[in-house]
């Protein structure tokens, strides 16, 4: 279980990392915390010529607190969020989800940007950030672009990265005080890959009602207008508004054909709502 031999570079800034990525004659792989890539390298599923360690780049470990949103550098770790070294603007949603990612030793190195780019359908950040309406910012040599988190994932293990591009930051909108959210994942063992994820956010002050079905083995199913499933958030009891049949129909319409799979995901969403947290 040793990786193939590779060269190693630790660029000082994003520009230097992009310059290394631009070399077409080599297979170049970026590494952040390496908690998903490490196993793949050890199993020789990935055999790069050059490994570019981006954890030395200060810009990627910065946090910018803006009026309506917070911008997290790609190399912010799960533990940084869990331990509130990064200010929480999500009524506890991100710290709570962070606490449930894999194990503490993994969370001390695993990064948000790395997890999103690895694009494992079972990953927690993918589902909760899609629920919160977060965006990712990508940068290439010819400029940058910002897209919704759910669009960044194209399929299992496939992120929407154009040649020579890398993810630099994640922008999370600040929730209002009236926001309520819920998150539930179904795992066979603690810290293992989830089989089903259900998540929702209602934020009446901002007019948001979203539901997300994750761990689908492909892209998460995002129901951007989910008042028919989780209400508009103004009612006291959210679970009374939940309609399992409507949720099942929405999931089926999104392409999940297997009835058992569908049921597991409907239940995950229902539990997310039942355990909803109040701001």
């Amino acid at each position: 279980m040793k990786p193939v031999n590779f060269d190693y570079a630790r660029p000082a800034d994003v520009g230097a990392a992009l310059a290394l990525l631009a070399d077409d004659s080599l297979s170049v792989k970026l590494m952040a915390g390496g908690q998903s890539l490490g196993p793949m390298l050890n199993m020789r599923l990935v055999q790069p010529d050059l490994l570019v360690d981006i954890t030395g780049i200060e810009e990627l470990k910065r946090v910018e607190d803006r009026a309506n949103e917070i911008v997290l550098g790609a190399c912010i770790t799960h533990a940084d969020i869990e331990d509130l070294r990064v200010p929480d603007v999500t009524c506890g949603a991100l710290p709570s989800v962070a606490r449930g990612i894999a194990y503490r030793a993994v969370r001390n190195r695993g990064t948000m940007g790395g997890s999103l780019t690895h694009a494992d359908p079972s990953a927690d950040w993918l589902s909760i950030l899609s629920t919160l309406g977060a965006k990712v910012t990508l940068r290439g040599r010819s400029g940058g672009r910002t897209i919704p988190v759910e669009d960044y994932m194209l399929g299992a293990l496939e992120a929407d990265l154009r040649p020579g591009e890398m993810l630099v930051s994640i922008t999370v909108p600040k929730l209002s005080r009236s926001a309520r959210w819920g998150y539930y994942k179904s795992c066979r063992k603690t810290g293992e890959f989830a089989h089903a994820i259900g998540a929702f956010l209602v934020d009446p002050d901002r007019g948001v009602s979203r539901a997300v079905i994750g761990a689908t083995e492909s892209r998460p199913i995002v129901i951007a207008e989910a008042t028919h499933l989780v209400g508009d958030g103004k009612a006291e009891r959210l679970d009374l508004a939940f309609d399992s049949h409507a949720a099942g129909a929405a999931i089926e319409a999104a392409g999940m054909a297997d009835p058992i799979d569908r049921q597991t995901h409907v239940v995950a969403l229902r539990r997310a709502i039942e355990r909803a947290h109040t701001a």
């Binding site: 196993p39 030395g56 470990k61 359908p121 890959f193």
Partner: protein, 408 residues
């Protein structure tokens, strides 16, 4: 080779290593610190857990070079640590170990639980320790030992430190070193020229023909509709070379002989690239318009093998001039890819392959229908992020032209 310098258990430790050397190997092989144990070597068992910059880290999936100048504490460095000393006593008292293989990792993780969690329940401790596997005592003694130490410390007025004293952002171990964009000396590259490819093909050759009573591990079905008459589609499926050219990354080594054919398929999923070399047997029944492709192949890079059985049935679609194709795919995957494998991911990839296949098939059939000779239309030749994006664009373009000419 890179020279890596760390502070290990308070003392500087330096060695010249390959960048692929993980932290556990660095400590065991160059520093003779064999207290760090290696179990699964892919971040699952927790035996190799140690402290990097004071917080628990998996040393088997953390490369030493990525921790340049970091502070590392192994189990050997915890001799004079208060919490670890109390845990050692408690582990002996509660029978928290038997063979001792998992113990160094257990002590490091347990120390973190004692340090950070104020008054955890037994359940909380079990969840916090779930990343460390023990295969002999069970966890009862371990959990009891941790609980005992926490209760005693809190009774002595020692409070928990929820963030474990970490104050800086980013992965543990990062941020101490100077950048080394050009620091790495390029190693001599192994040629992957024609000779290598030939060697791979040679190695792949002796794949035996599938035996009759083989059953696939996983089976799933997919269906699609093409806007061409049944006869045309059935006829097209008779030409193995043409069918293979519709499958992104697939190519044949030569013309099929008696339904037996050799070829390869290259699949790229994120950073994983596999190239299966193999053989297939093809059967076809004109009466029922059904066929099978049964094959097996090997990917030398990942030392993985697959065997598969594809069945297809061609029948008239819902509208005249349309054809429905039902495909059932059964396969067994062994080797590294299987170890990583999660059947659902394979299904997503297969779904994407089939979607690309259908587009290519449509393009080829349309090309034929219009009686055009010469070069075939452009097809998706590789399955990757680019093709996924282009397939979306391609789909929109197709819709645009369809609406323009009223073809559908």
């Amino acid at each position: 080779m890179n020279t890596v310098t760390l502070t290990v258990n308070g003392k500087p430790a330096s060695a010249t290593i390959e960048p692929r050397t993980h932290l556990a190997d660095f400590l065991r092989e160059t520093q003779n610190l064999t207290g760090t144990h290696i179990g699964c070597e892919h971040g699952v068992c927790g035996a190799c857990t140690l402290l990097v910059d004071g917080v628990p880290t998996r040393s088997c999936i953390t490369y030493a070079v990525a921790c340049q100048q970091a502070e590392v504490t192994t189990v050997e460095g915890l001799d004079n640590d208060d919490i670890a000393a109390e845990l050692r006593t408690a582990f002996s008292k509660e029978h928290g170990l038997q063979c001792g293989y998992c113990t160094p990792g257990m002590i490091v993780s347990a120390r973190d639980v004692v340090l950070r969690m104020d008054a955890p329940s037994e359940h909380d401790i079990r969840i916090a320790m779930s990343g460390n596997l023990c295969r002999c005592t069970g966890y009862v003694g371990i959990v009891r030992a941790i609980q005992g130490v926490i209760t005693a410390r809190r009774a002595r007025g020692i409070a928990a430190i929820p963030d474990g004293n970490r104050k800086i952002l980013g992965p543990a171990g990062s941020g101490h070193a100077v950048p080394t964009t050009n620091g790495a000396e390029p190693r001599a590259r192994v040629s992957s020229g024609p000779a290598d490819t030939q060697a791979r093909a040679q190695a792949a050759k002796p794949v035996s023909r599938p035996d009759a009573d083989w059953k696939p591990q996983t089976t799933f079905t997919q269906g699609f509709t093409v806007a061409h008459p049944v006869d045309v589609v059935w006829d097209f499926f008779g030409n193995i070379g043409e069918v293979a050219s519709c499958l992104p990354g697939a190519s044949l080594a030569g013309e099929p002989v008696d339904g037996h054919v050799e070829g390869q398929i290259r699949v790229k999923v994120g950073p994983i690239a596999a190239e299966f070399q193999g053989v297939a047997d093809v059967t076809r029944d004109d009466a029922t318009r059904t066929g099978t492709i049964s094959g097996s192949g090997k990917d030398k890079r990942s030392n993985s093998a697959t065997r598969g059985l594809i069945g297809y049935a061609v029948r008239p679609g819902d509208a005249p001039g349309k054809t429905k194709v039902d495909v059932s795919i059964g396969y067994t995957l062994t080797g590294m890819l299987a170890q990583f494998g999660r059947s659902g991911l394979v299904q997503d990839v297969a779904g994407r392959l089939i979607a690309a296949f259908v587009q290519n098939l449509e393009a080829k059939l349309a090309h034929r229908e219009q009686g055009q000779g010469g070069e075939a239309p452009p097809v998706i030749t590789e399955l990757d992020a680019g093709s996924l994006v282009s397939s979306v664009v391609f789909g929109r373009l197709k819709q645009f032209f369809a609406s323009l000419f009223g073809r559908r």
